[in-house]
Subunit: 136 residues, 2 copies
């Protein structure tokens, strides 16, 4: 874990919000969708099945905790949870809050629209809404 | 579990290959990608976090078992694992085998191409390759 380093593309595209026991919690810098990413702090892992059994259990526990909280905070119509990683090889798990009237509905959001970064003000408001995540 | 019924859209789009302890294992009838779907046999569940803790652990165990087997059987470049469910509300977890030269690479496959059904002969060959999944 001490060897873990967040992939440069994730550093570029996201804000680091904090961490859970296993994962770093990122906010995708795209104001079009409330979009969060969990990254297990383990080196050289590309697929979920490459984690140990214990780490996989931590991952689904942290993912479900996050997804449920996001559904409540954002009053979501649906959560989209996905490990894709065709471009960024470091294992990362997307959690995208979806609404039936969002601009990509009902298709997935990946690779669809260029990101629209948050303004400073939008980010402050958003971070305040996320306090109940109780991140480390 | 006795009340569980596979969603009509999944019945229409997929072949049922068998089951694990928690999930039914489906093959998407699209010969363009080796594409499998796990459906927890639980009624009225839309999000992973709605499963019990024990069921969530079963789900990630079955998902990882399937993903690892598929990676080996198909010599995959990447697995894409996702719970989307914007259209079909019944919780189902996609497992798509990806190659760096497949027709959708590097974007996700969902909502991209109309399915190209397997021929009878292709399906027979494929089912033979899947024997090592040891489905119930």
């Amino acid at each position: 874990m001490s060897d873990f380093q967040l992939h440069s593309q994730l550093q570029k595209d996201c804000f680091v919000l904090g961490k859970f026991e296993l994962c770093q919690v990122l906010l995708m810098n795209d104001s079009q969708f409330p979009w969060f990413i969990l990254v297990p702090q383990r080196k050289d892992i590309r697929e979920i099945y490459e984690l140990t059994d214990a780490e996989q259990i931590m991952l689904i526990r942290e993912s479900s905790y996050l997804a449920k909280k996001l559904a409540e905070i954002f009053n979501a119509d649906k959560l989209n949870v996905a490990a894709i990683g065709n471009i960024v090889p470091q294992l990362h798990l997307h959690h995208v809050v979806r609404y039936e009237n969002d601009k990509a509905w009902a298709t997935p959001v990946w690779g669809k629209f260029a990101a629209v970064p948050y303004t400073e003000q939008q980010r402050i408001v958003l971070l305040d809404r996320l306090k109940s995540l109780d991140l480390l």
